[in-house]
Symmetry: C2
Subunit: 314 residues, 2 copies
């Protein structure tokens, strides 16, 4: 049985999460990168996944502020030695070997703390490895740079030209791409939920229309980024979504709108999955919506309730 415990039982001080994305799906390279994370004391590997279609490795690590920065720096140094972007192909947009490195507050840490961490990280990468680094999200130095898609325009293949534009001068490091590692984007954001929904169709055209309907900046839901991808072995299309504020745009709204848009093309939803990890609150909110629960607070949850009763007993 799993048990809910209140935050002051939390076992770590100032906990942050980091979700570095590396441009590789080579199992040997993956193993070496992940090994750099697990080697650091007080840095804890939560999840890592990689696939050939995206040719991308996504690692989730949590821990104290110092340990997470140390672990991700070590992993990044290793990745830069092992990955050659000149030979990289994949369906996910990317600028470099260490493509994007967001820092996320989890407990007893703020978004400001995470902005500082991303600056420390970016500065080190720029100075010690000569990699151009862009700050994005809450750490961005200009309004456009808040948007990772804007920074990634042209991708690795056009970086050499794009990076020379004055409005694209890197925040750290040189104004020329690293010969094999391209550029890196780092920054701070709030907890993100990765939500993938599979559709019973092989039409990428339909998938793209549905993804566009969901995508915030294209007229969809405010805090959603969506893209469609083929899952050839399952003969399905997957709508891969990032919900970057799950309290603002809850899971049920994403799922129900997706259902409506898919209906229009007579495409069924076959299943969905959480990509990475999800805060329990997002799950509770979904149940609350679907069951029309008017009173599902913390105090109604057995496990939370027990621990609170123990702590508050006179």
């Amino acid at each position: 049985m799993t048990v809910l415990v209140l935050s002051d039982w939390w076992p770590l001080q100032e906990t942050v999460e980091c979700v570095p994305n590396f441009s590789t799906s080579d199992p040997k390279v993956v193993k070496e990168i992940v090994g750099e994370i697990t080697r650091v004391p007080s840095a804890y590997l939560l999840d890592h996944s990689f696939d050939d279609y995206y040719n991308r490795l996504v690692v989730t690590v949590v821990g104290t502020k110092e340990s997470v920065v140390r672990a991700v720096l070590n992993a990044s140094f290793r990745a830069v030695r092992l990955i050659d972007m000149n030979r990289h192909k994949g369906q996910h947009p990317r600028l470099g070997a260490v493509d994007v490195v967001p820092f996320v507050p989890v407990e007893n840490a703020t978004i400001s703390d995470c902005i500082s961490l991303s600056r420390d990280y970016g500065k080190t990468l720029g100075e010690e490895l000569g990699i151009p680094v862009y700050l994005y999200g809450e750490a961005a130095s200009t309004p456009e740079r808040r948007d990772i898609d804007w920074i990634r325009q042209g991708e690795y293949e056009n970086l050499d030209e794009m990076i020379r534009r004055p409005e694209r001068k890197p925040d750290y490091g040189p104004s020329t791409p690293h010969p094999t590692a391209g550029a890196t984007i780092t920054g701070a954001r709030s907890m993100m939920v990765g939500f993938n929904v599979n559709l019973g169709t092989t039409s990428l055209t339909i998938g793209k229309k549905i993804a566009r309907a969901l995508h915030g900046s294209k007229g969809g839901l405010a805090f959603v980024r969506a893209m469609a991808a083929e899952i050839p072995q399952m003969k399905e299309i997957q709508i891969g979504m990032s919900i970057y504020n799950f309290e603002g745009t809850p899971l049920h709204r994403v799922f129900e709108l997706l259902k409506v848009e898919a209906d229009r093309y007579n495409v069924p939803i076959t299943r969905s999955e959480i990509n990475g990890v999800i805060p329990i609150k997002a799950i509770v909110d979904a149940a609350r919506f679907y069951l029309r629960l008017s009173n599902l607070s913390d105090t109604k949850i057995l496990e939370t309730s027990i621990v609170r009763a123990i702590r508050t007993k006179p």
Copy 2:
């Protein structure tokens, strides 16, 4: 923020829950009964609620085995002194002042432990207060007695006659009702979820038909007991349900079947609520169903995942 922690972080040994139901809604009496619970060390009051319509107080207490039995015995002794069943009216079926006292395993405790506790409790009530006591649920001494509805047939008003029947000889105490406290039912069961759904109708007839459609022993869902009640101040009917095995009959199935049955009478669902407390697993299961999540295990939940990563790091 609330955080999930694995069971070996659990702060108590052998934790059980008890949910005694007392036949009162007099705030002064409620206060005295609840006071007996909170007074006992290592017994923790999770919830208590009472209302005039049912004229009933439902208390949820958890703690170590010994402390819970002690707290509920003290509360029962107090209730017997303060409640006179000869003057009790209410819409909920009942046999006595201390109507029903189920013991429930929570953590590091089994249903067998809870059967023993209910026997200790019942024996004490019978011997020290002269109250006839029936064992029900998993503690029942005959197959019919597993069913609390069977035991409560005729209610307090007909107890004097019913109790004389040989098949209804109490498990403890005398074979005559206590003059002011009637009889008590105690036993063991697994964790139960109280789920109430309100309907936008004032027709109790329709409400009763819907409740019957849901009720397990009347052809509805296996682990559901349902009854309809008027909520006059809201001009609504409430279907009050107990799901006594929420893994066997999950919340979503109850809610969706209720929706279908209500549709038949063109009655809308206005809202629902959890009565008492609910294990987090029941909530996660509902979200998993509605969002069609194929991979929502413990390892996908951020908080659980962090604690596990910390505990298992070499």
